[in-house]
Amino acid sequence: MKKKLYNCILILLCAGAFIACKRSIVITISNPQEGKLHATHSLVENGEKVFELDSVSAPKAVYMQFCKIGEKDVLSFLNKYNSSIYLYDYNEGDLLGIYNFGKDIIKPGAYYIINEDSVYVLDMAKMNLTLFNPKQNAQTDVISLKGKEGKDWPIKLPQYNLFTSNPIIKIGDELIMTGQLFWSIPAKAIQTFHFSANIGIQSKKLKFEHCYPEELYGHDSNWEGGQQTAPHATVSPDGNLIYSFPPSHNLYITAPHADSYRKVYGGSNDAGDISSIDYQNKEETPEDIISANYVMQDMYGPIIYDGYRSVYYRFLLKKVTDKQKSNSIPNKEINIVIMDKDFHYLGETTIGNGKKWNIQNAFITQEGLNIEYLSPENLDEDHLVFKVFQLK
């Protein structure tokens, strides 16, 4: 009898341990305004921009920048295949020139054109920011992004997945790159890991700033996969940084060099609860569980400030309900939430899914919000196409 009881207890303990092993602290972020917001504005597709590509460049460029060079409105893009930046006249559609990096930059990932003499290029292989002079076709300065860390810098410092709608930002005399940790944030690092790099253009000083909010990413919660831990940033008219974290209906506002946030509501009328992954052993989380957590829940994406119309656009990637499509991010429908400069909700528009739109390539011009359109007719990949959305 005693032996039976002992065996019973042992089995219960093992089962308990097994269940405990699989469960984790789950953070759930609710949307207090779900279904309660009133829309007064929307976005309407009105016009397109088409740029002809050469034989070695393709749509879905990994990085673009819209800027003024001299008197011209210039749309530029990074061609990783031949390590170049292509520059087009945005209004006429003509190719203006190509900046070729040669062998100076091994793996360009992003850039910031200051002017015709100065382009800062993020080299993902060397993990540095190189100042490149296109006129001299030479690099003139290099700033290491590895700081003073040793070989384990990838787990102590941010890594960067920058794109057109989450770009290198210039505020005053500083460049800001929003990086991330590509896995869950350990509880012991929540107040020490900084995801943003701040680089002084004149001083060449590098400083890492801004921590993940504990209420979203703390308590050893499981946010594996890299998508959920990717902050997106834009700049407010008064020079503050506005961070959009994928699982949060709020926006987090801070200034360069500040160490705290002001929170404002910046969510969607359509978005529901968003939860971290319910799996204890974070490193061993199965890929299908990670993927389903991102695809089958609402998740926020980039935020862009439109200085011409004084509004913010925040992208929401809506949850996929079909379990058969739980591993496909392009199946997520895309909403664009519109807010005024004080973050008051103005409305939102659903534009279709990621098979049709590449929201990583979105930017503002006088005409409106430009978003790359993935045309089914563009099978030969001969054109780069943008649809322009106007505020109504």
């Binding site: 034989s55 393709a58 030969d380």
Partner: protein
């Protein structure tokens, strides 16, 4: 002993999950199940491994026992530039624009060699820094 058994079971169950997944996708792509081998090459993932996959494609594209599946592709145009292969000229290359062939495991970043018999997957191996699946296939083809 228990640890070894659990590790073996864990690896084995992941491999079976991958086999079942590809087998299921193949049932919806019947033409591809006629090949003896499928080489699935992702466009995004382990750079060196993908380059090996592209090199293998270039070398063996004329072998009609092998079907090539290009998945998670960022650009077919650039892929054609890199390999010098015109995709339309080869019936045994399938561009998986729906990304149906991306396996739902950590191995999705590696090219994958799939062995097919009677229209079903019998085994698969990934080309990773630890497992030379493409070299193994070359050796098998030479026998």
């Amino acid at each position: 002993m228990l640890f070894l058994t659990l590790s073996f079971y864990s690896c084995n169950s992941e491999r079976q999950k991958e086999i079942d997944f590809i087998d299921n996708v193949l049932s919806e792509h019947a033409d591809l199940s006629n090949y003896n081998w499928l080489v699935i090459i992702p466009g995004v993932g382990c750079n060196g491994c993908i380059q090996e996959g592209e090199y293998f494609l270039k070398k063996h594209v004329s072998d009609k026992t092998i079907g090539f599946v290009l998945t998670n592709i960022s650009s077919l145009k650039i892929l054609q530039q890199k390999t010098g292969i015109k995709l339309k000229e080869h019936e045994n290359i399938y561009a998986d624009t729906d990304n149906a062939f991306i396996v739902e495991t950590h191995n999705s970043v590696y090219p994958c060699v799939v062995e097919i018999k009677d229209h079903h997957v019998v085994s698969l191996e990934f080309q990773s820094p630890q497992t030379p699946a493409l070299r193994n296939l070359e050796e098998t083809l030479m026998k």
